[in-house]
Symmetry: C2
Subunit: 344 residues, 2 copies
DNA sequence: TTTATCCGCTAAATCCTTTTAGCAAATAAG
DNA sequence: CTTATTTGCTAAAAGGATTTAGCGGATAAA
């Protein structure tokens, strides 16, 4: 295990000062009027011996770690996993590392994680905020850290934010089901008061109201595990028999819900049932009845988020106004009829 | 933005030396014979003012970051996302952070990531290694870093390793299909030479050989995207019409493959086709024909990995022999008949 | 009485950079 | 011929902790 090279080793080799080497390595050769000749010799040696500055020492001195903290609700949820993956990709290209973790939508846990990230000296924060962390996040902002919220907004936090048009998404999905002739459309959602969930509910209600149809909403407690959720959905369907179509508020609820439904029909899902889901899923196209889905623009979300963050991290940019980016969803219609895709 | 507290602030407040405070905070009060009285006063003040040591300074001095680098093939793959999630959970409990990233099974990328992790001074490495990184990983080991491999082995790397019994898993799935009466069982896999894939292939071949059945293997190039993969599978089925059952080597190939199959049957998947998949998937139970799956013990994998890593990170433990842990899979049989689960 | 040991704590070195302030020699300006 | 300015580089401080080596006085052992 050969011992790590130090900047002093480089300096000694070339009979120059540490300062000079540091300037050159940090691209300040010109600014500090180091001769081109010396600049080259230093760069050549550094290259040859493979010297790499100690990042801890660098960070200690500069206060920057070139690390971004990413807190999603659940990294094992494909929606977040995909976004994380795309953000990570871009971040690495720009010389940033990503540290991520799952909040589980728990405010205490989230507070702890924020504090952990502070301890780690991350340069910026990307967060899908649960309720109840307003103060902690506002504190981050007040302390001058770049903060970008994703997927949901929280009243009381005034910062940059990337979300999708949940209301229209749910509205369009519901409208589509109505166009197909369904009259008793249920909405299965969670009981959490996350903004994106409330907006989806509103979109559903709005579409029904326009046709004077009655809403039928099931709120499954957020903390329910797969089994409990399944049971809850089963009994909901038992109680409200007239239902002929369902809109699920998330893809994992759709999966669980379809499982519940199939318990009625050992032969499989009833072909006459109308099913739509907020958030698409790889396997929806395999199911019968095929499932219409509100696809979220994960790539666009990730791109906007990381662009915003990189912009904020660049000291050259003045701190711009907090702006909210709302991205459109796409309704992916999967009927027996030829499939079309329509921008919502 | 109140300025950060320093250890010197604490020391000054109590008229003691920085050293003393440091000893107390690091649990060396007894060892260094600091009086109980002073120890308490220091702890009380630290608590009151909320002092937290600067981790960068700590790490610079100690050389430890309490960070573990986790490199999986693809964090957006549910199998890895789940493992990552579980590992993260335990790591946080033990005061370790996890930094993770996706190798995409690309050796150059992986080498870069290893080098990045070194620069970050992570304390340990958890890796799903692609081919071609033997030297780099061996170097890590030689330099004294704890390294644990997951999901696959690579010849030439001699270190701790947690894998599953791929051969038996594939063997059991194939045997099950044969018991159901299927005679022409295809195996759809990737062309990558990853150890776990080769073992699955071997399990499949072994089962067929015992009954003198002919194998029919399709290797889809690893770099193919969803569309290309689909096309490849479609043409395979067209060419080999006699096939009456398929074993897919991964769950994402299964999803793609089922899509391909359903292109023949606009009504849905043919009910008489036998389908099994290595790696289970949330939605398999919704499909017709239901899909028998080789479930991997994600929780056990994650637990073994993190336990091993924590053990290695503990300086009290002598460096133990490199050992390979092989975990059993579970064959989840989903037939029209009542579902049973059998340990493989 | 002398020597050794223990007690309770601390000064200073160390980890490895970046950055501020400035020096000595050479050139330009007055 | 002074006095500024520029040039090319550097010494030393700073960043915030951990850790080694040790100090002066009190007690115990010989």
């Amino acid at each position: 295990m050969k011992k790590k090279l130090l900047i002093s080793d480089i300096a000694k080799q070339l009979n120059v000062s540490i300062t000079t080497v540091s300037f050159i390595l940090n691209g300040k050769a010109k600014e500090k009027r180091i001769s081109d000749d010396l600049t080259e010799r230093v760069q050549k040696l550094v290259e040859e011996v493979g010297y790499r500055p100690n990042q801890l020492a660098q960070s200690l001195r500069t206060g920057k770690t070139r690390t971004i903290g990413l807190m999603v609700e659940d990294i094992s949820n494909p929606f977040f996993a995909n976004i994380a993956r795309l953000i990570e990709e871009r971040a690495y290209q720009e010389g940033y590392k990503i540290v991520y973790c799952s909040t589980e939508d728990d405010s205490d846990r989230t507070k702890e994680l924020i504090s952990m990230f502070r301890d780690m000296h991350v340069d910026g924060y990307i967060i899908t905020p649960p309720q109840g962390v307003e103060e902690d996040v506002e504190k981050l902002i007040k302390d001058g850290f770049p903060v970008v919220l994703v997927d949901r907004q929280v009243a009381g936090i005034h910062t940059h934010c990337v979300i999708v048009d949940n209301l229209s998404g749910a509205y369009n999905a519901t409208a589509h089901l109505m166009e197909q002739g369904y009259q008793n459309i249920a909405f299965v959602t969670t009981d959490s008061r996350q903004s994106q969930m409330l907006q989806r509910l509103e979109g559903y209600r709005k579409a029904l109201a326009e046709k004077q149809l009655e809403p039928a909403v099931l709120e499954v407690p957020y903390r329910y595990d797969a089994k409990q959720m399944l049971r809850k959905i089963v009994s909901f369907f038992e109680e409200t028999e007239s239902i002929d179509a369902v809109l699920f508020a998330t893809n994992y609820m759709a999966v669980r819900g379809l499982e519940a439904i199939s318990q009625f029909n050992p032969q499989g899902l009833p072909a006459n049932l109308g099913v739509a889901s907020y958030d698409d899923h790889d396997v929806f196209k395999l199911l019968k009845p095929t499932i219409t889905a509100v696809a979220q623009p994960t790539e666009a979300i990730a791109n906007h988020v990381i662009n915003l963050m990189l912009h904020l991290l660049n000291p050259k940019n003045k701190t711009s106004e907090a702006d909210t980016i709302v991205l459109p969803t796409q309704l992916i219609i999967r009927n027996s009829t030829p499939r079309k895709e329509v921008v919502a």
